[in-house]
């Protein structure tokens, strides 16, 4: 294809997105669009899969049967969401094996939030309330992103996820209204998860390298800072209802802006965790790789059984 033809296709493509038309897998798309989507969608899928680990840590130790079934259902949903997203990514011409290899070799990233440990039961409450709360704010705009398979997967994910945040908040509410020790446990979890949750929206707009292109492709509909502000504005009143305090002495309602002002985020910590030096990076990846390798005999056995059944069918027919 000549350079002129490509330029022409690009113009048609950009116009389509500007008109809010969706791009489907067999449509022509610029190589950069394909690559960016493979990167973002697979990171999203990896985050769902790795995201099961911090919560899985508490399934066997949930304080009641009610809490246990709810947590199991939530972790099960996350596995499902990872699968929707991997399948949607495969429509762009990359195989599941390649995607797994990128995760397991450390080449691909997943959300840094999952590199923090879950040391008390209250962390399960804080994750549902804050981490899922932040994830929902990030994900709702993706339901109308330009790539059809991604947008459709996100509609399912958002719908199914609506219970995740509520189960977390209910845990926090119970602890906050419990004994002084339980309330302290809830406060401690909020203290540890608050700032990492704010970092989930990514670097500030002036430091974000992908924002401009992603806005153009409607892969992003609001900037990192806008989404972060939205999260803070809606979470502060929720903390007040719990009677817990947000660990930020600069946090203050700004009447003029109509938003909460907040203190500086520790971006050094953010980049340290992104680069692999968070408290649990090594453990998370190792757990994931072990699960994959230790499951190999099960995958092989299923394949061998399928082949045996197929052979038997051929013999019976013959």
């Amino acid at each position: 294809m000549s350079e002129k033809e490509i330029k022409n296709l690009e113009a048609i493509f950009e116009a389509k997105i500007a008109r809010d038309e969706k791009i489907e897998p067999k449509d022509w798309m610029p190589e950069k669009y394909r690559k960016t989507h493979i990167r973002q969608m697979s990171q999203h899928a990896h985050s769902e899969i790795v995201g099961m680990l911090p919560e899985g840590n508490w399934i066997t130790r949930a304080p009641s049967l009610r809490r246990k079934v709810a947590l199991l259902a939530k972790v099960q949903d996350e596995a499902g969401h990872g699968l929707y997203l991997y399948s949607a990514t495969e429509t762009l011409g990359i195989s599941r094996e390649e995607l797994y290899e990128q995760l397991h070799s450390g080449k691909a990233k997943y959300s840094s939030i999952f590199n923090y440990p879950t040391i008390t039961w209250a962390d399960i409450g804080a994750i549902g309330w804050l981490v899922d709360g932040a994830a929902i704010i990030n994900q709702v705009p993706l339901c109308s992103t330009s790539f059809g398979p991604y947008a459709r997967a996100m509609v399912r994910v958002c719908k199914e996820e609506s219970f995740h945040q509520r189960q977390g908040y209910e845990i926090m509410l119970t602890l906050a209204n419990g004994t002084p020790e339980q309330k302290e446990m809830a406060q401690d979890a909020l203290n540890r998860w608050w700032w990492p949750s704010l970092m989930m929206f990514g670097p500030t707009d002036d430091m974000s390298t992908h924002t401009e292109q992603s806005m153009k492709w409607k892969l992003k509909r609001k900037t990192n800072d806008e989404l972060r502000q939205q999260f803070i504005d809606q979470t502060v009143p929720q903390a007040n209802i719990l009677g817990l305090s947000i660990p930020d002495s600069d946090l203050k309602w700004n009447e003029e802006r109509g938003h909460y002002d907040f203190g500086p985020i520790n971006w050094d910590e953010f980049w340290q965790v992104v680069k692999g030096h968070g408290p649990c990076n090594k453990e998370r990846l190792q757990t994931r790789v072990d699960a994959w390798e230790e499951g190999e005999w099960v995958r092989d056995a299923a394949m061998a059984y399928a082949e045996k059944k197929a052979e038997r069918k051929v013999k019976q027919a013959g």
Partner: protein, 100 residues
């Protein structure tokens, strides 16, 4: 492929899925007979999209679809019916909690 008494092969059955516009999933529109996939695609165009009903067509030979049996629905879907905790209404939150 089935054969009739004159030993002649019949055209197999194909299922037709049409995407009515970009952004929407392909939906099952119906089925038709055709000698091969290419003919099935052309016939589907003529049978199901005469009035611009679609922007994309998938055809798949019916025998390649494995369908669940309605008489197994009880045991197949029962596991989902008693899991109320998969729904947001299961969780008790005060009314004043907003955005959740």
């Amino acid at each position: 492929m089935s054969e009739n008494k004159n030993n002649k092969k019949n055209w197999p059955l194909w299922e037709v899925f049409v995407r009515s516009k970009n952004g929407l999933e392909h939906r099952h529109f119906g089925s038709l007979h055709a000698a091969d996939a290419e003919m099935a695609l052309e016939n589907a165009r003529d049978v199901y999209t005469r009035r611009n009903e679609g922007v994309s067509i998938w055809v798949v030979e019916s025998k390649n679809i494995t369908a669940s049996n309605p008489k197994d629905n009880g045991e197949l879907f029962e596991p989902a019916t008693d899991k109320v905790y998969r729904h947001p209404t299961f969780y008790d939150l005060p009314d004043e909690v907003k955005h959740m």
